[in-house]
C-alpha cells in the first residue's frame, strides 16, 4: 500500500490534493481516478454542465506522475443525432391511442 495524490486540472487551474489516498497498486489508482472523474462529472451534469476540459493527474509519494485521466476518456459519449437524420416519429405516436 502506498500513498497517491489525485490532483485536478480544470482549464488553467490546478487543484492539488493535500492529503493523498492510500491504495494497493496501479490498477486501484486507475479505478479511483475513473470513479472520481465520473463522480465530479455526474454532479456537474445534475447542475446542467459537463466540464470535459478537466483531467486528473496522479502523483506517487515521490512526486512522479504515474497516471493521467482526461475526463472525456472516463465516459462513452453518444453524439447527438444531426437534425437532418433525425427520423420523425410516426404520427399519431404508436404508444398513444
Amino acid at each position: 500500500v502506498s500513498i497517491y495524490f489525485f490532483h485536478l486540472i480544470e482549464g488553467e487551474d490546478l487543484l492539488l490534493d493535500p492529503e493523498g489516498t492510500e491504495l494497493a497498486d496501479h490498477a486501484a489508482v486507475a479505478r479511483a481516478a475513473l470513479c472520481s472523474a465520473r463522480s465530479i462529472m455526474s454532479s456537474e451534469v445534475s447542475a446542467g454542465r459537463l466540464p470535459l476540459d478537466m483531467r486528473i493527474e496522479v502523483e506517487n509519494g515521490d512526486g512522479a506522475l504515474i497516471h493521467r485521466l482526461p475526463f472525456a476518456d472516463a465516459i462513452d459519449i453518444t453524439p447527438p443525432i444531426a437534425a437532418s437524420l433525425d427520423r420523425k416519429l410516426p404520427s399519431p405516436h404508436p404508444l398513444r391511442k
Partner: protein
C-alpha cells in the same frame, strides 16, 4: 452517570470500537475524540452513516441485540466509556430526568439519521457538504467545542467522501469552492465558518432536527 462509567479506555485512531458481528454487551459513550459508524460494501467501499462526537452514545439500547449489524471506528484517538446495561437501566429508573435526557438523545440521533438520508438522496454534493458542516457546527457547539465559529473537523477528505457517497478528489474540489466563495476556511483539520448564514443558505439547513433548544444535557 459519570459514576457508572467505570470502564474507560483509550482507542487509537482507525481502530474499531466495536465491529460488525460483535456482541454488544455494554453501552458505549464517546468522552473524547471523533468516531464513525460504518458499513463496508462488497466492492470494498465504505459508507459512513454517522459521525460520533464527545457526549454521543454508540446506541443506548444496543445491548438488547445479539450482534452488531455495523461497526464503529475511532477516527481520531478517542476515549470511550463503557456502561453495563443493567447499571444504566437502574439509573434510568432512579432518575426520571436522566431517562428523559437519554430518550431525547436517541430521538436526536434518529433526526440526524433522517437528515443524512435527505442529504444523500436529495442534495447535490456541494450542498450536502455544506449541510454536514452546518450540522457538525451545532453539535460541536452543544458540547462546548466551538470557539469563535471555529472547531476541529478531524476527518480526512476520504472520510468525508465516505460519509457523503463521494470521492476524495470530489470533496477536495467542493471544499475549494466553499473557500473561494468565502464561506469557510479549513486548515490542518480546523474548520472556520466565515459566513454561517451563507453556508446555511447553500445547504438549505434548518437546525430543528437537532432540538438544541430543548435544553436537555447531551453530556449527562
Amino acid at each position: 452517570l459519570s459514576d457508572a462509567c467505570g470502564n474507560i479506555r483509550d482507542v487509537p485512531a482507525n481502530q474499531d470500537i466495536i465491529s460488525e458481528g460483535d456482541r454488544p454487551d455494554q453501552v458505549r459513550l464517546i468522552l473524547d475524540g471523533w468516531a464513525a459508524r460504518y458499513k463496508v460494501v462488497p466492492d470494498g467501499g465504505r459508507q459512513i452513516t454517522a459521525f460520533l462526537i464527545p457526549g454521543d452514545f454508540c446506541d443506548l439500547h444496543v445491548t438488547i441485540l445479539k450482534e452488531m449489524d455495523h461497526s464503529i471506528t475511532a477516527l481520531t484517538p478517542a476515549t470511550v466509556a463503557s456502561i453495563p446495561h443493567g447499571e444504566l437501566e437502574a439509573l434510568m429508573k432512579e432518575r426520571p430526568a436522566l431517562a428523559r435526557a437519554l430518550w431525547w438523545s436517541t430521538l436526536v440521533d434518529e433526526g440526524v439519521l433522517r437528515a443524512w438520508i435527505v442529504n444523500l438522496g436529495r442534495r447535490r454534493a456541494y450542498e450536502s457538504i455544506a449541510h454536514l458542516m452546518c450540522e457538525m457546527h451545532i453539535r460541536m457547539e452543544h458540547v462546548g467545542l466551538v470557539e469563535d465559529g471555529r472547531f476541529d473537523l478531524p476527518v480526512t477528505q476520504e472520510e468525508l467522501a465516505d460519509a457523503l457517497g463521494l470521492t476524495p478528489a470530489h470533496v477536495n474540489r467542493i471544499l475549494q469552492r466553499l473557500r473561494t466563495e468565502g464561506l469557510i476556511t479549513l486548515k490542518e483539520r480546523l474548520l472556520t465558518i466565515l459566513e454561517i448564514s451563507g453556508l446555511r443558505r447553500v445547504a438549505g439547513f434548518d437546525p430543528n432536527y437537532l432540538h438544541t433548544r430543548e435544553g436537555s444535557p447531551r453530556r449527562a
